[in-house]
Amino acid sequence: MTVHALVLTGFGINCDAETELAFRRAGADAHRVHLNDLIARPETLNAMDILAIPGGFSFGDDVASGRIFANRLRFQLGDVLLKFVRSGKLAIGICNGFQVMVKMGLLPLFNGAFEQEVTLTHNDHNRFENRWVHLEADEDSSCVWTKGLGRLELPVRNGEGKFVPRDAETLARLQGNGQVALRYADGGGRRPYNPNGSVDDIAGICDPSGRVFGLMPHPEAFLVRTNHPRWTREDVGDDALGLRLFVNAVEYIRDAAREPVAR
């Protein structure tokens, strides 16, 4: 079957081309769609299996990263999006897309309704930073996207990537539900392995179903081995690639189509 992925663009999103490429390399048919066009024709989503909100600087990170884009999505397409994720389909927010998702309350989606429970805010060092980090997927997480991922390296590229839950109870709930999908991990580098002071080293979370996922690092920036910073001195195999997250998603849709009950 053909898996269809919709990649949102517009208003300063800037990782849409490589996100589209990631889905294509993973075997999906990917389409870039401008937010205004989706607002004009929300039914476009009906034919889609996966929604991606890529990284970038929507509205320049003005006021707060992701905030204005999040509001526009929630006010204009809120019901459509809820329906989409409830119907067993997948969604991913990467970097700015993750910021959008938590600020509109599409994550962690504890009660199936939009409610902001966590945030992504200014890194403790108050800088935009582009560097590669080590990550570890939580084996106990229900996340579809990070299944079987284990350890991997990806770049972070943000100024507001520090994950903060509303309170200890919220954090415990995320942990208890298996919603903490991805953490910064100690790879023995010279810098602090947690790049920004994120609580519990959290780099990515999912909704209780595991189908909606957001993360700060950029898996779409590691689609070939030559993207890796040490490929000229280490053996970087295909199983190291960020591409695997996208393959997981495409395979999940294909499996679900074969076994409708699993949805």
């Binding site: 517009g10 800037n14 006010f75 902001q116 805010t121 590229r157 030559t226 993207n227 910073p229």
Partner: protein, 999 residues
């Protein structure tokens, strides 16, 4: 706080947002540490409150919704729309913009409010962003003022206020800053300018009007308007004999040094050191263009050179590649952040406007500053180099990151005389399908009948006189309006729109609006059609009150100009609307032979295209090379038995050599997913890479390598050497990663101190002679290396003059080079890879310490700058790239600033291994020369032991020196001539290299 103040129909509301107690205030912490680092002021605590002043009609319920839904992140923030948040501080500083300055956060906030309310804000309603800094510590009002002006605001574009807690609590809550609404109005009348005046009065007209035209040019304009034929034609068009103000402004802009490059076109009578005199009829024609013409006979990949906004070359059968670099020096001197961000988004537009519109795929940035530890008096209107560095870096960072264009390569260069003007070079590369709709994508033309469409931002008073301002030295009269703040998100939307419009072929010609605004973009495009008419009242403006000439000349940012046929205009405007991009028909291209402007139906300008573009008189200049001043420096004795470890550490820690990782890490260098070789490489990803490599077309293994060379430190010794070294440095960097000779394209960006002899520049003839020498080197080396110059730019007035102080920059050329690689998988990084690998240096080391970092640390210049032997270097590079192609080389590093010692140490510590070296085999008597001479055309390579024989064979007996091996033990050891030595753990060398600019 008093009730909302009413302004017109709208009310003023204020939402204040701060970080919740117990949450990290990262921005506040940042201000605290900068106050200490940059100003030496200790503070106990700083907190930041974001203030959004909303000028709009909002009900109480609406204001509350806006506060909660838009402005407040309830997880980490608290906010108030009904009173001040500030408490528990000693002093409060509030900083906001002045009227008319681009306020990106304010603009986005207005959009955000519209989303929350479900209705757009009305005309005249707006949001203004300001920030409050709450300081605690043992400071007084005077110190806080220093923090306000020295750290938090630039008086030219921002307003600030300082109050103590007592003053704050005693106040009635009135805003500390004025509402920055533009109230200043120019009247819309167009004035005649009487040119039938004395020469002195003509010069005064030019000076007072910021026209930057010299007497000869003013006379040429006067004579044109005095001719009977012109008068007759003007009468027929309903125009007076005298020129209109807008016409004079258009001529001044079009004829500016910035736009016409008059010095590079001048006839120069050149006298060399030996007293031989010859006439050079145009430096551009005889050296720059001549280079490309010669090389074009030998390379087959040039697509479009010199004619467009950027040079275009072939990438593969399906794609072309465009390259351009620009400078934004004068604006960056006055406002480092604004100048730099407009610089980077400005050069992006050159690429967007090249051919039928290229997609930007990378940025480069090269900055020249005075050393950050400068401790002298900072001259009036200038900033301390630390502040310039931080501001420029932040501007380029925000501009590039927000535009989604990776910053892949650059440099920081330090020299005392960049105090007078910082140099901010911004470069961009672009990619375009070779054909769009079956037609070559580099071909475009505006035809009569095509509509003139302005796309993007609106016009304001910002950026008026930018072209003429940058054609003069920085002086007391330099206008504040020349300073702007870029808006990358508006431009990103324009770029997305433009790519879609291009692929649908909805326009026939495109160019960017840079210096000179519409006057320049429309004036240039109208050369194709043979004329144009612009209806100025149709141009969208940010606010009322612009004079017609201001509308036409404004350099307000983020605008492109298109030529669109009447059949496609509907579709084009609809596409713009879908992308939330403003596009407006402002006139049409004609074949009248005239550039004509109308305002409310009345013709106010009619300039003959020929006079406009060809009427500027050719300058006649004199150049005379002074003999080099004889050095009075004592020659240091040749050392014996010395430990030079500390010297190596000092050289590694010099500002020109040391790591710039702190700054580079803040650039997004991986967006678009093309990255192959990054700026920092090695086991810990912190060794200094040479050229960047990207793979711009995902399904192809072909790549682009990008590098730069810049060597102003040699200029005072020999401008020829400076240029040759810059080219060679860029080429070496490319060769290091695997580029081949014959695939390299070059860009020359000249930044010179005023080279025209005059009362204010008595040494102009020598500076012009330096320019001639530099051009000779450019031609000779590029021809020898087969490098066509595909584009370039010159900035010729890089001087500071105020009162009795004059500072002229050292003559500087940035040479940007790029090469297409056949297979990025063969790229080589600079870090050593494994113990046992054999270390070589390619190329001879000579006593060329002049201008070196080693001597600079001793406050000396030396006498002999390094020279380039281009034919032998070319042979070396060809052999090396063949060896790389065969997979014989595991690491390769350029040997440049800091000499062989620095290059070897960098390769070692980047790889995390030591080296055991013997430098006595170099054939050099002096250890200082062996380690620190900056002889050109040298490269450090490491070779696996089993490939040594093959590698040496491939080098074929040219100058290759085997120096030693890579060791497991992390110690860098080098035996040097006359029993001198170096021995240090690599960690210490790396620390010496990283510490100075670890900010």
């Amino acid at each position: 706080m008093p009730d909302a103040v009413v302004a017109g129909n709208a009310s003023v509301h204020r939402v204040e947002v701060g970080v919740k107690a117990g949450t990290c205030d990262a921005a506040g912490e940042n201000v605290k540490s900068r106050a200490m680092e940059d100003l030496g002021i200790a503070l106990d605590d700083v907190r930041v409150i974001d203030v959004y002043t909303i000028l709009a009609q909002l009900s109480a319920e609406e204001l509350e919704r806006v506060r909660v839904e838009l402005f407040t992140d309830s997880i980490v923030q608290e906010s108030s729309a009904s009173g001040a948040l500030a408490e528990d501080f000693h002093y409060l500083i509030e900083v906001g913009y002045r009227p008319g300055v681009t306020d990106n956060v304010g603009r986005s906030s207005a959009e955000g409010i519209a989303d929350v309310l479900g209705r757009p804000l009305s005309e005249g309603e707006a949001v203004f962003k300001s920030a409050q800094y709450l300081l605690r510590g043992a400071v007084d009002a005077e110190t806080c003022k220093e923090i306000a002006e020295g750290l938090l605001s630039n008086n030219l574009i921002q307003q600030s206020a300082v109050v103590s807690e007592a003053e704050f609590s005693a106040s009635d809550g009135s805003p500390l800053l004025e509402l920055p609404v533009v109230t200043e109005r120019s009247d819309a009348t167009v004035r005649q300018v009487d040119l039938t005046v004395s020469d002195d009065a003509l010069e005064a007209l030019s000076r007072d009007g910021m026209l930057a035209l010299d007497l000869g040019e003013m006379q040429a304009i006067r004579d044109y308007y005095a001719s009977g034929e012109v008068r007759e034609k003007r009468a027929a068009l309903g125009l007076p004999e005298n020129p209109m103000d807008i016409e004079i402004e258009i001529l001044a802009q079009t004829w500016s040094e910035h736009c016409k490059h008059k010095i590079f076109a001048a006839r120069i009578l050149y006298t060399d050191e030996q007293g031989n005199t010859r006439l050079i009829d145009g430096l551009f024609k005889n050296y720059v263009k001549a280079t490309t013409d010669r090389v074009a006979e030998r390379v087959d990949w040039l697509v479009s050179v010199f004619d467009d906004n950027a040079g275009i070359v072939r990438f593969d059968d399906d794609w072309n590649f465009a390259l351009k670099a620009e400078t934004h020096n004068s604006p960056s001197a006055l406002d480092p952040y604004g100048g730099a961000i407009t610089g980077i988004v400005g050069v992006n537009r050159d690429i967007l406007g090249a051919g039928m519109g290229c997609r930007c795929i990378f940025n480069t940035d090269v900055f020249c500053f005075a050393p950050p530890d400068f401790d002298g008096e900072v001259p009036e209107r200038l900033f301390h180099p630390r502040r310039v560095l931080r501001g420029v870096h932040q501007g380029v960072m925000d501009g590039g990151n927000q535009s989604g264009i990776p910053d892949v390569n650059g440099a920081f260069v330090f020299h005392d005389r960049f105090l007078g003007k910082p140099l901010v070079f911004c470069g961009t590369g672009g990619l375009i399908p070779a054909k769009v709709n079956g037609k070559p994508s580099e071909v475009k033309a505006a035809e009569p009948g095509h509509l003139i469409v302005m796309v993007g931002g609106r016009i304001g008073k910002d950026g008026i006189h930018g072209a003429t301002f940058s054609s003069e030295e920085l002086n007391e009269g330099s206008p504040a309006t020349a300073v702007q703040i870029g808006d990358p998100i508006t431009q990103k939307k324009v770029a997305d729109f433009l790519m879609e419009a291009r692929d649908a072929r909805l326009f026939d010609c495109v160019t960017d609006n840079g210096a000179g605004g519409l006057s320049s973009s429309v004036g240039e495009m109208a050369r194709d059609s043979g004329g144009c008419r612009v209806d100025l009242e149709k141009c969208p403006v940010k606010y009322a009150g612009l004079a017609p000439w201001e509308i036409f000349l404004s350099e307000a940012q983020e605008r492109m100009t298109l030529a669109v046929s009447t059949g496609q205009i509907g579709e084009l405007l609809a596409l713009a609307d879908r992308h939330a991009v403003e596009a407006t028909v402002v006139g049409e291209f004609t074949d009248s032979g005239r550039l004509e402007c109308f305002y409310e139906g009345k013709r106010i300008a009619a300039l003959e295209m020929e006079f406009l573009h060809e009427g500027v008189p050719t300058m006649e200049l004199k150049a005379k090379l002074d003999p080099p001043s004889t050095t009075t420096e004592s020659q240091p004795p040749v050392l014996s038995g010395a430990d030079l470890t500390d010297d190596l550490k000092a050289v590694l820690g010099s500002y020109n050599v040391c790591s710039k990782e702190t700054f580079v890490q803040m650039y997004d260098h991986e967006v678009l997913g093309q990255s192959v070789l990054k700026q920092f490489q090695g086991v810990n990803e912190d060794g200094p890479g040479d050229a960047a490599v990207i793979r711009p077309v995902p399904d192809s293994d072909r790549g682009i390598a990008i590098a730069c060379g810049i060597c102003p430190k040699y200029s005072d010794l020999d401008a020829y050497s400076m240029m040759a070294a810059a080219i060679d440095e860029a080429v070496r960097n490319l060769v290091c990663v695997g580029a081949k000779m014959g695939t390299i394209a070059g860009l020359d960006n000249f930044c010179w101190p005023d080279p025209v002899e005059s009362k204010k520049t008595p040494d102009g003839a020598h500076k012009l002679a330096q320019l001639v020498r530099c051009c000779e080197a450019l031609h000779e080396v590029c021809v020898a290396y087969d490098i066509p110059l595909i584009s370039g730019k010159d900035s010729m007035k890089n001087d500071y003059k105020m009162g009795g102080t004059k500072i002229s920059i050292p003559p500087t050329v940035l040479f940007t080079a790029a090469a297409v690689l056949e297979d990025v998988n063969k790229s080589v990084s600079m870090d050593v890879k494994a113990p046992g690998d054999v270390v070589y240096v390619l190329g001879d080391t000579a006593d060329e310490l002049g201008g070196s970092e080693y001597l600079a640390l001793r406050g000396q210049l030396g006498s002999t700058a390094p020279t380039v032997d281009a034919p032998s270097a070319r042979d070396r590079y060809e052999r090396l790239s063949a060896a790389i192609d065969q997979g014989l080389v595991v690491s390769c590093h350029d040997c440049s600033d800091g000499g062989l010692g620095a290059a070897l140490a960098e390769s070692a510590f980047a790889g995390g291994f030591g080296m055991d070296l013997d430098l006595t085999s170099l054939g050099v008597e002096d250890a200082v020369v062996a380690l620190f001479s900056e002889s050109q055309s040298r490269l450090v390579v490491t070779i696996q032991p089993e490939k040594v024989a093959k590698f040496e064979g491939a080098m074929g007996g040219i100058a290759v020196y085997r120096l030693g091996i890579v060791t497991e033990s992390p110690v860098f050891k080098a035996a040097c001539p006359r029993d001198c030595r170096i021995e240090s753990p690599i960690g210490e060398l790396k620390e010496a290299w990283q510490a100075p600019l670890r900010w």
